[in-house]
Symmetry: D2
Subunit: 304 residues, 4 copies
């Protein structure tokens, strides 16, 4: 089947057809991307790695270093636990150097990308109280994938807002792992995802208590991301909107400390399908192969 049949926007641009994945054919590639359901990549990755191929997994198989935790959240046994340790978590703003030489990259989830980028400057600088972080996240419906499921029909989820997975969502341990690495100590996080009636976009609203009310957080964030090509810290007083990143690989962040209180509110937006998935995977590939990191990723968001 032609790819352009499933993606009619690609007519006239590519001639590719879908084909069955074959390990030998894949192994002939410099890099293989897995955009498969959780649990698929781990079946093929060891052989590909052994044959010298590099791998970027967009699913979750290699995101959690704690294998027991992974097996609990994903409800299956890990097929190659011995390869998990060598996987590099593909958040370039944290692990750029390791990604450069990685043979296996675990591309981050969409919520974890928006949430970690928003929290990290606070946590890396020891400014946030770690016992009560809150990540209230809103995602467009494309985050649920293209599977035919009733709750994601337009007639079911349009004109409605709801939280889901409040008792526990798989992205919770992933976000927590990233924050704990940055803090080098345990972090208590409440993560609530919401299904928002739009196609694309994640809006993470992050809450943290800060003790040092004198810190210039705006400057701190601007410095942290000054040389990052895909993180844009908005001017003080701004509100980030998801449409400003629709179709682009950018994460935009805005910072507030309402009424000069002790609670910081960070607004962090991405396109879940780009910086939250395919775009970040390309960014990782660019880093892995010594290409210009922004190559192929300079699309400007489509607005309106």
């Amino acid at each position: 089947m032609a790819v352009s049949e499933l993606f009619p926007n690609l007519r006239g641009h590519i001639d590719l057809a879908f084909s069955e994945p074959d390990v030998d054919a894949l192994a002939a590639c410099d890099v293989v991307f897995f955009a498969t359901p959780n649990g698929i990549a781990m079946q093929m990755v060891p052989e590909l790695l052994d044959k010298g191929c590099r791998v970027i997994d967009l699913a979750a198989d290699f995101r959690l270093q704690d294998i027991a935790e992974w097996e609990q959240w994903y409800g299956m046994s890990h097929a190659c636990p011995e390869r998990v340790a060598e996987a590099v978590y593909g958040l370039p703003e944290v692990n750029r150097e390791s990604i450069r030489s990685a043979q296996l990259v675990a591309n981050p989830g969409c919520y974890p990308t928006a949430s970690q980028l928003g929290f990290l400057p606070l946590i890396e600088n020891g400014l946030a109280a770690l016992d009560g972080l809150v990540a209230d996240c809103k995602s467009g419906v494309s985050g649920a994938g293209r599977g035919a499921k009733v709750p994601f029909l337009l007639a079911e989820c349009s004109e409605s807002m709801k939280a889901y997975g409040v008792p526990g969502h798989r992205h919770l341990p992933e976000i927590r792992q990233g924050l704990e690495r940055a803090a080098d100590q345990p972090v208590s996080l409440t993560f609530v995802p919401h299904l928002t009636p739009m196609i694309r976009g994640i809006h993470a609203t992050l809450y943290a208590k800060v003790e040092d009310r004198g810190a210039d957080l705006q400057a701190l964030y601007e410095q942290r991301y000054a040389s990052e090509p895909f993180v844009d810290v908005l001017p003080a007083g701004s509100h980030a909107e998801t449409r400003s990143v629709k179709g682009s690989n950018v994460c935009r962040i805005a910072l507030h400390r309402p009424q000069d209180g002790d609670t910081v509110v960070v607004l962090s937006v991405i396109d879940n399908l780009v910086k939250g998935a395919a775009g970040q995977a390309i960014q990782n590939m660019n880093i892995m192969f010594g290409l210009d990191e922004t190559q192929g990723l300079e699309t400007i968001a489509l607005l309106p």
Copy 2:
């Protein structure tokens, strides 16, 4: 101008026409509803009250008892500060008895309705840590009214999510006032409203730390609202969705304590135009005049 010209759904149902408000004509009514911009009702209310008329104000003129605070948040001098004390805050689930005999009712705001109904059982029972409450609220665009403003054009706010008013929103002191009355002590609250790409609905996601992890919160909420005709506590494990109340006067509430931790997450949904505005005003009128409280309010939500 015929009302049905502005509201084409009313063709064939009513013959009313819009008319200029006239104090004498209004004073002849048993009750006058003000659905006017902030600052209008307070100009006419004293005279109407003096003439024996009862008033329900859907705007904010009489919602805050602290007049200095009101003037600061609303940016104008109050026209009749001496009448504020007699206004009853029209949240029936809290003030039903006072509403019964009130001459002047301040109908609550939309965010304050959803947020207070969600927080109250915790706070009335002294279960929540009061120094770090978070209300992350999402509203449909109709909450912004029918004025012609660029940010609320479909082409601007559809397919996008954003927070607004993070430095401070007028509903913050209103919610805080209600929670402080229930707690009988100061409350620290962070309130972040978001503009959601849908017409109707408010989804309040509320976060509170609880010390007593043994409390049966589900039972507590069910008991608190057992006899309330318009508050529906969902079964444990549920997620409230705004479409389930679209067009109805119901507030639906769901409760979670993720991973049995110390953070409680309350999901509270209303239709901002019904329980968050006109429906609650009718409910207040019913109470004030000894009518059946649910009269005229039994519409079932339109789904899908």
Copy 3:
């Protein structure tokens, strides 16, 4: 399973649970509604009719009198062709008297309801050229039902418009049958349905050439529907919008003859789930049982 689990808006309003359909239990009812896929009702209807039960079928099994044509369009053999002749087509504005005494009513399709009500006054009065009618119809996504199919996911059909079934849609012969009955001669109709990014609503834009340019079509339409409780002819110069009937059983019609030419444009809007399905079925039941025709159907459209 409780009905209110599948329809959360009904919590607190009904205690019904879904149950397996059983012919004997159904036969004990005064009337049975079939809201089943095409081909199901015809399996059970003969027995129900024989037992004296009255039936309203919301599917298409009994809509076409020409059984060969039905079998061609629906791709199956008819299970009870001998009962088709006694079925009354349930468009009250045409067949009210027959519906009154009908034992079996074929409830019209959504597109056919909007299209026939829009075309009928022209055709009944011999004003339209019958060799080139066009019905360009736009439907909300709920018209596709609640089945989990990829094209109806929000991420697939939101923010897009497309025609479908242009080579031939099952509602074409149904509309044509109704128009031919009114004309008492063959009719040539082009019918193109479109999937519109909204939940509810059908907008039929109907084109016909008229020979008698002097006819007062506005008066003609107003008279034709003067005593119809659920058809509202808008004032001259109006444009009908689907939101004006959202949730109501009303069909609103507006008429134009652009530039005083020979082409008449009729705009006809309904809620596909109400006048186009369940509401019309109730209307038919009311007629069949001598009840007030508007009973249970006086809901005003939800706007905005």
Copy 4:
């Protein structure tokens, strides 16, 4: 004011600021684009032309050659009727050679682009009956511009479908002019635009009677547009969807002759803001200046 303030997607990409238009400054440019309300460009164009500047007007000031007709539809006197004759109508698929050397290009309207591209192969080949063409067009809300008007608020036009301007829309004479040039005789056209609840996209559904039922229309269309970089004739049996061109300069066309009858249905989709406006203007500029016609226009549609 920085352009990136009004268009937050442009942050980090451009440093431009809005400035007052000044004729001398503009005249120093090779080409000036007017994306102004109707009636503005014609005030400045003569001077710019006299100074040797080339002009592309995205508004309607120079689209109609019949000045009396223009003044009637646009409700004002034309400020430079003597310059209208030299304006080239900027539909490259028709006027590419004239555009090459044009000093003044009238960029086509959005509906006219989709409608003409869909009708032209039929009409250029004398295949369509010219006395009863129908163009039933559906546009996203961005077609109304960014002005703050109540009918285009999300709460007003989302979840609703309506026709507008049925008595007469300004794009009618523009489409008719293009078709009459192709036919070299008068054309009778009914044009009905509809407001569709989405941001971008135009779907034109075009109806024409053909006498020669034997003509291979699919081949005819494919040949007509074989060398056009921005017109894509879909395979027989297809349905064009607006999302397949969202953000791209492509017009996709699908053809049907339902039931092998004498009515041809053409489905023609564009992005109203790209091929229907800014993209086509760039395409015209590329042609005018001998650049590669597709330069800057190779963006692939954003899907989903």
